[in-house]
């Protein structure tokens, strides 16, 4: 996929099984449903995903064995849509980018499957749950491994569906069902943009296709990227609308916090680790297109940064443990978007990976807590759990430090790279950096708040609940441990150069994103884009040296000192946030009281109520929409004007005419004769005038 012309495409029919195995698992569990014992269901579900992970790993290794320029495996299954010039294949492909994604998804997915065995063990919908979960993995893998944008869209919608199903898994509660629907619908709004982007892309590309070239194939699109240039901004923005839906960015982030209504493993898997990163993945996948449009990139970066800040502020006030994590996720996704927006795709994907580890860990940890608290999610009644749930506590703490960016945990590396790129990347600058930096501190603060409220001090729950508190079973703690380890060491693969590493992660992905850089260079060579772009870059920082090509290579290696300084600053800032969180929420100091006093005022209420965004949407779109539909369209236009006035009205007019004419038939012979004579008179008058 990285090479513009790929003569050396390697067929690898392994890929389809990576995708299909979970589907098979879902099918078996779904169709046989309650006829299977629970153990078998669990085995099939975990087994299929595990096997899928193994296959991914195999494919990954095969890929790694190839020379860097030709790292591409293709598996074309069949023609999907073929009509005239429109040709879309059903097929899969694997290159370094989606190999990473595949490993993350199947790997983390497997762990969460295992975790769910314990978490859901007493649930009535055990089979259903694993069916959905497997179906999700299938969809997600379709999304990731899909050979073309339309396949990606299939997966995209598929994960949306699974998300819907799993959010409203406990559908007995109307609220859960509403949350599920909200997630789906908001995603559909995003898909609206995605679809239009597809159309515009297709329409632009279609006339230039060669024989046998699939329209939306990533390879083909990349090959013809030059013809996309004129429409790149529009296409990119439209696709980004899709991404804001899936990856919970402004303005479509509103569904994700509500999505916490689903079982916690779902939150961990779908709404933290995998699905929500699909938008980031899609943008990274389409990097060759996005880089053609600095404007679109800028929008992506700004939206990402804004989302990160917004969500982080809200997260500081939430009392529901999962809500905090959810806003944290939104915030982190903002980071990833920011990374993509400044051209640091690999940094974005790196953060996707590390975030998958520690956020899955955090969610699963919170799940463990909730499990222990008999389903209670409000942190205000928790506290003091560290002793009773030691494994949970320690792993959770690891996750917290990871997300806070404590060296040398995973989060540090990815976040630091993003911060650096926000400053130095294409279109990056002080502004974006400042926002990202602020968010990093806030993140540390609210995460510490969460830990303190949950694990520190005295337990505030009722006696009965307190009585039941116990550590989770092995199937749940094992994944926690694994993820905790990954959260710690997972970032080392991207050990940056300025700290003496070689950033293997960046290198691995480099072929994928290099093409995009070349494209920019090529496009820039053609026109004004480079001039503008170059100027923007120059304006924005001390890194005036960063030339287009260098930027495309994922950042220069120039200013190691500055990089180190900034990394140290962010580390310090993160630690400050953590300390502050600890201080404010564990010890009643004067500072803390002041902060609380202030926070109890209107800013607190605004944040607690999430800036009233849901209410605003409700008032601006939903209510007026319903009112319009019901009173105007249905009752007035449909029933009133069309049916009442036009249809029944004309019928009435006819009927009235009939009734009036009927009155003439009064039974009087003389009247009949009279009308006869009138007829005769008319006849005679006419004929005598004419004849």
């Amino acid at each position: 996929m990285h090479s513009p012309v790929s003569e050396s495409v390697i067929q690898e029919s392994l890929l389809r099984w990576i995708v299909l195995l979970p589907l098979l698992g879902a099918a078996i569990n779904g169709l046989l449903n309650r006829r299977l014992p629970r153990a078998a269901v669990g085995a099939i579900a975990c087994g299929s995903v595990g096997l899928s992970f193994v296959l991914s790993l195999t494919a990954f290794l095969r890929l790694a064995a190839l020379p860097a320029e030709s790292r591409l495996l293709v598996d074309t299954v069949a023609k999907w849509i073929g009509f005239g010039p429109l040709r879309v294949d059903m097929g899969f492909a694997m290159d370094p980018l989606n190999a990473v994604m595949a490993l993350i998804v199947t790997g983390v997915g497997f762990l969460i499957h295992v975790y769910s065995l314990g978490y859901m063990s007493h649930d009535k919908g055990f089979q259903r749950f694993f069916t959905y979960l497997n179906l999700f993995i299938f969809s997600m893998m379709t999304l990731i491994l899909g050979e073309n944008l339309l396949m990606l869209f299939v997966g995209w919608e598929g994960v949306g569906l699974c998300s819907y199903l799993l959010i409203s898994f406990w559908f007995n509660e109307e609220a859960n069902a509403i949350a599920g629907k909200k997630a789906f619908v908001v995603n559909r709004v995003g898909d609206f943009g995605f679809l239009l982007g597809l159309f515009l892309l297709g329409a632009t590309l279609l006339p230039h296709l060669g024989a046998g070239e699939g329209l939306f194939s990533f390879q083909v699109m990349q090959r013809h990227a030059d013809v996309l240039a004129p429409a790149a901004t529009a296409i990119a923005l439209l696709l980004f609308v899709g991404a804001t839906g899936k990856s919970a960015q402004i303005p479509l982030y509103i569904w994700l916090p509500d999505a916490m209504a689903g079982p916690t493993p779902v939150s961990a898997l779908i709404h933290a680790a995998t699905m929500v990163t699909a938008g980031v993945y899609m943008i990274a996948r389409m990097n060759f297109l996005f880089v053609l449009s600095p404007a679109a990139m800028h929008v992506v970066a700004i939206v990402g940064a804004a989302t990160a800040l917004l969500a982080a502020t809200i997260a500081m006030t939430q009392n529901d443990i999962k809500k905090v994590l959810a806003y944290s996720t939104v915030s982190q996704l903002g980071y990833m978007m920011l990374a993509c927006g400044v051209g640091a795709f690999s940094a974005g994907i790196f953060h996707v990976m590390t975030h998958a580890f520690f956020k899955a860990l955090l969610f699963l940890g919170s799940g463990s807590v909730i499990h222990a608290m008999s389903g209670e999610q409000d942190m205000r009644v928790m506290g003091g759990l560290s002793k009773k749930l030691p494994i949970t506590f320690w792993t959770f703490l690891a996750g917290t430090f990871a997300i806070a960016g404590v060296f040398p945990l995973a989060g540090f590396f990815s976040k630091d790279e993003i911060l650096w790129k926000a400053f130095s990347g294409q279109g990056g600058g002080v502004g974006l950096y400042a926002v990202a930096f602020l968010v990093a501190g806030l993140t540390a603060f609210y995460m510490m708040r969460l830990v303190v409220l949950t694990f520190h001090g005295q337990n505030r729950a009722s006696a009965e609940v307190r009585h039941h508190i116990h550590e989770s079973p092995r199937s749940m703690t094992m994944p926690l441990v694994v993820l905790a380890v990954l959260s710690v060491v997972g970032g080392w693969i991207g050990w940056p150069a300025f700290l003496g590493g070689s950033n293997r992660f960046d290198q691995w992905l480099e072929p994928v994103f290099a093409g995009g850089g070349q494209m920019v260079a090529a496009a820039a060579g053609h026109g004004a884009a480079l001039v503008e772009h170059g100027a923007a870059v120059a304006e924005h920082g001390g890194q005036a040296l960063a030339e287009g090509a260098a930027a495309a290579h994922g950042g220069g290696h120039g200013n190691v000192g500055l990089e180190r300084g900034m990394a140290a600053a962010s580390l310090a800032w993160g630690l400050l946030g953590l300390s502050l969180g600890y201080l404010v929420y564990s010890r009643r100091t004067k500072v803390a009281d002041k902060v609380r006093g202030f926070a109890g005022g209107w800013p607190y209420r605004v944040l607690l109520n999430k800036y009233y965004v849901d209410e605003a949407y409700d008032g601006a779109f939903i209510r007026p929409g319903f009112r319009l539909s019901k009173t105007v369209l249905w009752k007035t236009v449909d029933a009133g004007v069309i049916d009442g006035l036009l249809v029944n009205g004309s019928a009435l007019v006819v009927a009235v005419f009939g009734s009036l004419l009927r009155l003439l038939q009064n039974g009087l012979v003389r009247f009949y004769a009279w009308s006869f004579t009138v007829g005769v008179a008319v006849f005679v008058v006419y004929l005598s005038l004419k004849g």
Binding site: W674, T677, V678, V680, A681, V684, V685, S688
Partner: protein
Amino acid sequence: MEAFLFFSCGALMLLGGVMMVLQRSAVVAALWLVFAFIAASGVFAALSAPFLAIMQVLVYAGAIMVLFLFVIMMLQGPVLEGERKRLALPMWPAVAIPPVAVLVLVGSWLSRRHAEALPVQPAGFGSPGQVADLLLGRYLLAFELISIVLLVAIIGALALGNRERKLPWS
């Protein structure tokens, strides 16, 4: 002579007709009609139709009108309550316009032509013999059909007039 006969009888006939319409009593109306029919026979005579003139008196004034009078007598001379009242005034124009229009238009339309005198036909024109020849020759079918018509009238009258539910012969 011919002209005198025509105009005088024509005028009388018109008079008879108008009087019939204006009379309230059915008996008197019938008598005025007989009067008009007799005048009509004069008109026929003036138009070289002697046979018709005779038949007019015999059949129409004689047979048919007697039938009418007989029925009127049988019904004890109905003089209708309703007809004692004049037609409401607003109705007059509505009733009058069609006939007046017809009359005016046809009249004005006709008066522009046929102003020459009727040709004089040879003697024997319209005589019983000539008519009989036609009736039994060219118009034989009509002759036969009229018998059927009369038969129908007989059957009809019998069927309608009988109080029992069967014909006299049944």
